[in-house]
Assembly symmetry: D3
Homo-oligomer: 300 residues x 6
């Protein structure tokens, strides 16, 4: 079970020069083979399916902790997409002037036909994320090797998304994910080291270009986010530190386990888009709910 927080791990700046096609490109980081839906679901299923948990608890705790974090990653990518798409067509309720005309030339028409200029579990070509992206063999060494590879593949994708889209909202998000994804790479490498004695962390970084080439990563690395594993749990997964420890392979600073989650920031409020009938429900206003709350003795 989970407890959800209405907060994002970072504060997303308002987009400055976005286009619908930028949003389409970012979808690769959400619903692509190497997107956050894949990392989330791989580690989630591996944690559900872990055999011999008692004997191998610290490995389980690493996988389960990272699984917990990935939920926040599908969230932050989705919000970045949503912000990139907000305001991309002319607002208004009259359909006659064809307010959605730009959608006709947008690469990802589902953003307009299936959603109200918001995120969907698809990749940059509009192909749907699917469960074939989940690997859960049950052999610990093989699953860890997979996860190490998956995070490296995901890193390559993030680097390329950064090079495609220069909008600051997108880049802030990608910068953050590069740092945290980089930490996940190290975590799985460390787990393999514990298991096999081979210095897998020395393979890092894959691809070779350092996170330092991406300016948005700096403030996060200065806060040590590249070497802190959060448990994303109030009470559990705390034995992850038996594996996630020692020096970071790039800067040599100590790997740390932090109990709980990041503080985070409030989720952005998404403006209405009436030309998409979103959200509709025009007869309902906040005051109505505030009155109702008062009557029912609910805090508003």
């Amino acid at each position: 079970m989970i407890l959800r927080m209405d907060r994002l791990p970072i504060e997303l700046p308002t987009p400055k020069n976005a286009s619908p096609n930028d949003a389409a490109a970012i979808q690769e980081l959400l619903g692509g083979k190497f997107g956050e839906m894949s990392t989330l679901m791989n580690y989630t299923f591996q944690s559900f399916n872990f055999r011999g948990r008692k004997r191998l608890r610290p490995f389980y705790d690493v996988i389960a902790s990272i699984a917990g974090e990935e939920y926040g990653h599908i969230e932050v990518v989705s919000y970045a997409i949503n912000l990139l798409l907000t305001g991309q067509t002319k607002r208004g309720t009259n359909p006659v002037p064809a307010p959605l005309a730009p959608a006709v030339d947008a690469r990802l028409s589902y953003h307009f036909a299936a959603s109200a200029q918001t995120a969907l579990p698809v990749d940059s070509m509009g192909n749907f994320w699917n469960g074939q992206n989940v690997f859960s063999s049950g052999n610990l060494k093989l699953d860890l090797l997979h996860n190490f590879f998956l995070e490296c593949g995901a890193r390559a994708n993030k680097m390329r998304a950064y090079e495609m889209v220069s909008d600051p909202c997108a880049r802030e998000m990608v910068g953050y994910l590069l740092v945290r994804g980089g930490m996940h790479v190290v975590a799985y490498a460390r787990a393999l080291e514990h298991l096999t004695g081979v210095e897998v962390t020395k393979l890092v970084p894959v691809p070779e270009l350092s996170n330092k080439a991406f300016p948005e990563t700096r403030k996060y690395e200065e806060n040590g986010l590249h070497r802190k594993l959060y448990t994303f749990s109030q009470h559990d997964y705390q034995k992850a530190g038996l594996i996630f420890n020692g020096p970071h392979p790039e800067d040599g600073k100590p790997l740390e386990v932090v109990f709980g989650a990041l503080d985070g920031f409030p989720v952005p409020d998404l403006e209405e888009e009436p030309q998409l009938n979103s959200p509709g429900a025009d007869h309902i206003d906040m005051q109505m709910f505030m009155d109702m709350a008062k009557k029912m003795g609910i805090k508003y």
Copy 2:
């Protein structure tokens, strides 16, 4: 972001008469079009994509709360599948006597080829769950109508899964889901009532057979679980009560919003299956980790 708990909403009994094909049938409730992956991802994306949240907060809170709960549902279905599959082939490390021979006639070979007798995001035919199952139009009335339909369709699937599999582990889980899913049906019906004034709750139950026909639902209904919406959050989504209120359409008892999650029960420990090399890592024992923990000053 989320905080994860290493707990399941219910206690799953040890299976008594399971078969691999029972586990295959239950997969429909996990990765089927109307399975828990679908409910989880529909409400999760709808909450990320909600436009006009400030004005319509209580609707958002209902959707986000249920989204939070669904995570525990993919978890409990996965554990039920895992328990149904545990021990279904002969244990041992020697491949020569073909310990996996039963897999050849099992309907869902992925349970043996792709996982170590554990759950995967597939339906009962081995077709992978995919993002086309997510509906997120951004029009609140349409999304709520979808959710109401989705939960009714999911209810039909659960009823049929119950009628297929008589193992107590499976049925305990299905009974619980019928109660909670039934609560979700009511929640979306209530939301539509608030929005439109139409008495949608009177359509319940769909299909017509009552949850009372399923004995495993009783103890949960006696505890009021059919009429309590949990926020599955420490601090957020508490305005759900402005919508989720009034009498339950079947027994007239009051609908209630509860802040936070169920207490839950520890997750089952899944036995090793060496014939599947799961988990492998034979040179690692618990004592090693306990010694390490002692040295590092970590509680074990």
Copy 3:
């Protein structure tokens, strides 16, 4: 079995300002999850699969009648796409000047590679329509609820297609479908009312924007097409009137059942596109067939 007519329900105007991407956008109404292939196949399979037809005949007759109409809808959407695409590349048989060059930047390359600038059972992203879009649970209440939702979802899609494409050929077709689809919404709502006593028709319209906002709907509504259910059969499905009756939820005028089909209009003749080798067969002319007909005593 069916009898086919070489006629369309409406007269499609010649496009004035179409582009290949307009045609791609309209494909969503043909092969999308909420397109006419979906409505056609849902009701068709539900009618084949109807259990207890004798007892529940009027419900069967409603579903079967609408299934019959939907065939004409895949037809009229296809013809609109075909007209939008006709003449979009330079005509001629010489490949050297690259007459299909515009296809390289068109969003939906299948219109040029797989067809000769004509419709295909794909959605606006070129994903193929598939049978997973068919819901046929066999529980009447659940199937009707699905159909009501499906038609509302389809309505949202039509509204958005209208807002994307301003060409008069496309809009004439969408206007007509909004009227007839709106009638289907009402029909399934009425069926649910008969079954449950809940005033489902009062949920209409979903989304909230009225058909009146779309000028092309007017002439059809003036002819009462928003409140007439055609049986699309010479002799069958005539008991639909036991369900489809009472006042229309929006204008209060009486719902009516009409036996048979609309008169319709001749199907447009699609010009040849020699650069696509379509249709080829240059050595064959009409005169040859007329002579042959004369000889064989067949009327031409």
Copy 4:
């Protein structure tokens, strides 16, 4: 547009020795790559997309006529599947004794989970029919060659389905389809002959085994159904006879065009399956509708 008839082309006998797996095997003839959904949709789209219709009308009329017939073929295969599945689980409303237990070992679980023991647009492996099965190049010679091949491939599938399933209901249906599909093979071969002068009909039969090896084909061939093309239209497609003429390649009897459809037989009434909540709606009886009809002056 179409007019639908509540009739099947043949009378289906009650199954005698059916199993759920027989029904699964027959699904290949409905939703398989070479099933009736494919033939229906290929010819339907080719007829919508036909360029140069005026010049090449008789070819159009052949394709459109056969498209019309294929609707009745998806219908008759669906009904055969429905009959094969009717009564395959124990009837009753109590879920506790697991009335759907046989579904757990059935090859095609969707028949029980997604439908109420009825047909779905899937093939024998539960893979959904999809639009990639439609070929519509717009080059007449190529489309006809495709159709000739498609019908031969479909013929091979029917022959194998016959060899898999010995139930008389299934075989009556397959026998009929072999005869009519054989006629379609000849029709497309004749069309190619007209177009090219090559004696394509002499390639028949493909595969080499004659329809005569299948006893159920006899009565249909005695009635000439192997050499009669029906227009499946009241007024249109009558120029098909300019192409479909001459001697049948196997018995030398004359090919004929018949205007209109077969007389057909009433569709079977499918019994209720309460264990699947199908159709539910128990409070509604026929008498209620008869009374209502009386009051409303509608014939019942």
Copy 5:
């Protein structure tokens, strides 16, 4: 088993006016339903699956020979795509100036996200090639008929790709494939003639436009490549000549079987694209390997 040669069947000119969308269009010839992956895999599986090989050896030899050639076709199409994409984004290792910005508007984003501006087994819409494109019924007549149709469909696709893309690199490749694919059409037609006596070669060409309309085909036809079947084997498949013989249906020159493969040309060397971290490995230089080779006594 195979022996691979590091050579292409033709020399590909350097592109002159390519765009990423040109490369996307050409993907249809690689991973489309009628692309070279399909022809390769159809004949490869048919050769593995051939029953009665001893009795029907010459037919087997024809299919196996063409299967061997198709490998070189996926290769040459891939290299054409790779050349068309080379240099399409700004080279450099600094991600900040968004060197991949053009990818955002490219139709096929996988070329940049999943590969380093190189080919993938997808079609022009980014849909993945899949095994459903393989037909292998085991009935020789039906398989040959399929292959004849497949090659004609592939020919139509090539003609259209030619008309879309005017870059000389693409057209050289398409011209070559038109010639060789045309030879395959004739080979399967001849095989059907041997089997049935029907003059299937007289159906050629399908579509009707001759290869002569494509100037790039000329030099290949002058070298007789339209009438020579290569065995693509050192010692095997030499009985193909018992079938592949007689006059070519278009120019009447003799069909010939040639033992072995074409001489071919060296494969192009693909330049590095550092902005895609491709290939990376910057610390490794050729000299290092040359020194190593010297030390190890390996020729470099």
Copy 6:
């Protein structure tokens, strides 16, 4: 380009106790995510797409050599499936006694409906192999890491297939593939070692169970097949030895590069299955071809 040999890498024994479901299980090794179609196509596309080949030639030569070998692996798995299926239904041309009745309960109906008891590019659940299984990022380190993981995942699949199926034909093939796949694991590990200095070969074996547990591997390992990389080329890829060298990580014996292919064994002749009309063509006999050959001066 390739030269094909009509030979398999090993001699396949005649099956002794096979069932159609055994063949279905083995399909995972052909068309599964980790099957031989995947390894073949991954390395093939990586070799086509290799950037910077001149500088990094030895890496290219390793990948291209293994790509060459994988062709023989899809071949040997296909032949094993074909042999396992041969004779699994009653032979004869009369369809009336339902000779294909066993197909109704077989897990993989395509073996009977779509092929004549032969292999198809599907996995053990009948899902089609598709191009999404190909990874070709263009970053050498990432591609090698992928390949190392892919081979380990493939190894796990082979081990499980061995444990499922005890037929000697299947096990001979799996034993061989375990040895050769194990060699590929080492090759990619060595390549990563060259690139990074990390002792990746020490991770071997993954999963932990040694090939020695599988008796069929012994004779191949005794012949050194676990440590010999064949170039599968007459003249190319010979610089692979600059990477593939040093001691084998398990037995310390020297890694070797061998120019060319294995000698191999003749491919098995597959018996006819007349009940599947395979191959048909009954009027053609070998003598006819021998006579023809004599006349034409072709050696038979």
